[in-house]
Amino acid sequence: MVLSVVRRDTFRLFLVLLFFLGLLVSNFIFELEGVLSYSHHLLLRSVLALAVVSLFFSMRRVTRQKLQPVIRVGIIVLAAALFINIFLNMINVYSLGESFWGVEFCAAFVSLCTFVQTVFFTFKLFRFITLSSYFFLLPLFTLLMIYLGNDFVLGTKKYDLPRKFFLALIFLLILPNLLKSFHRAYLSIIQSYQIRHENFYDRFVFKEGGPGYYGWIKVFSNFILAQTPTSASLLVPPQAMEYKMEGNTNYFRWFLYPRRLYHLQSLEAGLESNELDYVVVSGGECESKQCVWPDFEIDQDTIKRMIFIDRETQGVTTIEGEPFLPENYQNKWGLIELR
């Protein structure tokens, strides 16, 4: 009977290792496809982790105690790998060679740097840096729950089915939520370190995905603030999907206050056209189609000058003595100063 109990434990241990390996391999496959963070995948991974934990706690206490040192080592290895991943991302190891101290170091130790680079690219170690936190945290939290659970539960074989189901639900509720929270922290810590020298309010740009994404609104607003007096009145695009930020006066005013923002409807509602000082030119978010607002011509006599900002380079150009013809300024961003 003792022998059959030991054999049962051995079989369960084999299943634990098999499922844990399955967890690591499936994590890797989903990671390569970039879908590990999807909610349904997280839940499925959590079910697999639950299987590992359940099988582990179905073993005898003496077997579980013997495995504690191995589990501790596993936790330390995974935590160390995660910290190395965070560190390499923080220092942005891709641009290390171009950084000041990177250039100095490699000038002094040429062969070492060459060797590191060769190893790095030969064994494709850069893929390690692209692994997300989920890849490490899923197995890490699984091992942690196994390690800590010994303090808490009796062997689960002593629980009836409803209680086991209840514990399973708690596990499935905690694990995906913890993973998402820690992933948020992981991304923020890396990004915070990389842009730590940026001015406080300009960090908005990076938080919103950079000048190529929603962070553009801050860059564009800084341009408008530099080009217009505080008492200026500006005509802005309509509130539409293409102009969802600069066309929303309630949103845009945060960036440009105390400048006053108006839509075309304000002119219909009684605003005099000579009360307007500027017209905002917006290239919009037109999904690779060409577009621009204003989508109507503005006569040369009405225009004092046109000032444009390049979204790629943030270079500023001024044009005088020309009318505004929408077809000539597709996807352009800037200001039209009115006479």
Binding site: R163, L173, Y251
Partner: protein, 450 residues
């Protein structure tokens, strides 16, 4: 320097809150510290607003200092008169090692993770500027104008300025008037206080392992954690309202006056944050239930019933006063909810139309709420399946709260064409169910220890 100013400001609010909690009869240290920031910020922001409205004081740094200083002095005097100073002095005699050492490994890790989440939210809110849409369009913009002008008059011309009561905007104003830009840290204080008080309330009936794990579930729940680093009013509202309901549940079950007072005060203060959803109405149920069960505290019950929506009524009275100062109309004589109900009644829908809308609304709510809340709801149903009768007041409350969500969506389905395009708002509205369900699931749980 900015960090020091910031911390001094927040700690002043905590100090006011500690005095209030002690004067209201709280004895548990954890509960007092959990209540401190919530009560302090709610009380000071309301008082600051009333002094501005009734006495014409500008909303600036000097008057904020006067409000804070005056509150502290007054509350300290009350503490002396009611002989609570000795209790106050003992509040801070707390040895970490004495409480930490006996914890098992699991409990230590749970608390470390919770501390990490709260600490990370502080770092996130300190390091990054406000980027959230509604905060820029409304809450934070309003705060900047108030801090710049010392009043809200310019808001009349600017528009989109008075749609919600000003609690979260005032949290930003407290920083801006002292030229502190990193005002978002206030939400970390709310998050931390929320978790601490939630844990403390669970500990009244549950051991520290279960209480810790339940608090971890709450702390890491994606919607809660995301809102801890977002300058919206949903998390503060959820904290005030759900904790208030938990106190009222304790009142129904135990009859303690302190629980009644704190429950009513917290729910009332929630209408100082958001008032669109009439969830405060449901708080009347446990107040009345407790009165009829214990046949005592009539005056307290009546006063608290009046208090439940008073902050919102004060805000609306202020808007009416502002309306009188300007040709522009900002005050709506009835809320959107009341207007929608009136429209629904006057339209007089036929039975067939009603049935179609019942079906559409039910399906819509299932589609948007199940992905977020399914597991939690299943856990809750599983936990309360046994002993449901003992939890009758709590179950009735939850059913009434959900009825408001369903009923509100049902009425708006007749009066708004885009009623089924606001999934995000409805899901955020249902955030109050997260702490309530976790609390009820964990509170009466029993398990065999080793």
């Amino acid at each position: 320097m900015e960090l020091i100013t910031l911390l001094l400001l927040q700690l002043s609010l905590v100090a006011v809150g500690i005095l209030l909690a002690v004067l209201l009869g709280m004895r548990g240290k954890l509960e007092i510290f959990g209540l401190a920031y919530l009560l302090g910020s709610g009380f000071v922001s309301l008082l600051f607003f009333l002094l501005h409205w009734w006495l014409g004081l500008n909303l600036d740094s000097l008057n904020l200092l006067i409000t804070l200083g005056g509150s502290l002095v007054l509350l300290l005097l009350l503490a002396v008169v009611t002989r609570k100073t000795l209790f106050l002095s003992n509040l801070f005699s707390w040895r970490l090692r004495k409480h930490w050492r006996p914890l098992i490994k699991l409990e230590k890790v749970v608390f470390i993770i919770i501390l990490f989440l709260v600490g990370f939210s502080f770092f996130e809110n300190y390091f990054w500027p406000i980027t959230d849409w509604d905060a820029l369009a409304f809450y934070d913009f309003r705060a900047r104008i108030i801090a710049l002008r010392g009043n809200m008059l310019e808001g009349i011309q600017l528009g989109y300025f008075f749609q919600y009561p000003p609690y979260t905007s005032f949290l930003h104003v407290f920083g801006y008037v002292f030229h502190v830009q990193r005002v978002k840290v206030a939400y970390s204080f709310i998050y931390g206080s929320f978790l601490l008080l939630f844990y403390a309330l669970l500990r009244r009936k549950q051991d520290q392992t279960i209480s810790g794990i339940a608090t971890l579930i709450l702390a890491s729940f994606t919607m809660i954690f995301e809102h801890a680093v977002t300058a919206y009013s949903n998390l503060p509202y959820t904290a005030f309202f759900s904790l208030g309901m938990m106190y009222l549940w304790f009142y129904v079950n135990k009859g303690s006056k302190a629980d009644l007072l704190l429950g009513g005060i917290l729910v009332g203060l929630s209408t100082w944050i958001r008032s669109t959803e009439p969830f405060w109405l449901v708080a009347a149920v446990p107040i009345l239930w407790g009165y009829f069960r214990y046949r005592t505290r009539l005056v307290s019950s009546v006063l608290l019933l009046a208090w439940l929506s008073l902050p919102d009524k004060l805000w609306r009275a202020f808007l009416k006063y502002l309306d009188s100062l300007s040709p522009l109309n900002i005050f709506e004589s009835q809320t959107h909810t009341i207007a929608a109900i009136k429209d629904f009644i006057t339209q007089g829908e036929g039975v067939a139309s009603l049935l179609v809308h019942i079906w559409q609304v039910s399906i819509y709510l299932v589609e948007i709420l199940v992905p977020e809340f399914f597991l939690l709801f299943l856990l809750f149903v599983f936990a309360i399946g046994h002993g449901a009768k003992r939890r009758l007041p709590e179950l009735v409350t939850l059913i009434l709260l959900f009825s408001i969500v369903w009923g509100g969506t049902f009425i708006f389905s007749f009066t708004w064409d885009t009623w089924n395009l606001i999934a995000g708002s409805i899901v955020r509205m249902c955030m109050i169910f997260i702490p309530l369900l976790i609390f009820l699931t964990a509170r009466d749980l029993h398990y065999e220890k080793k």
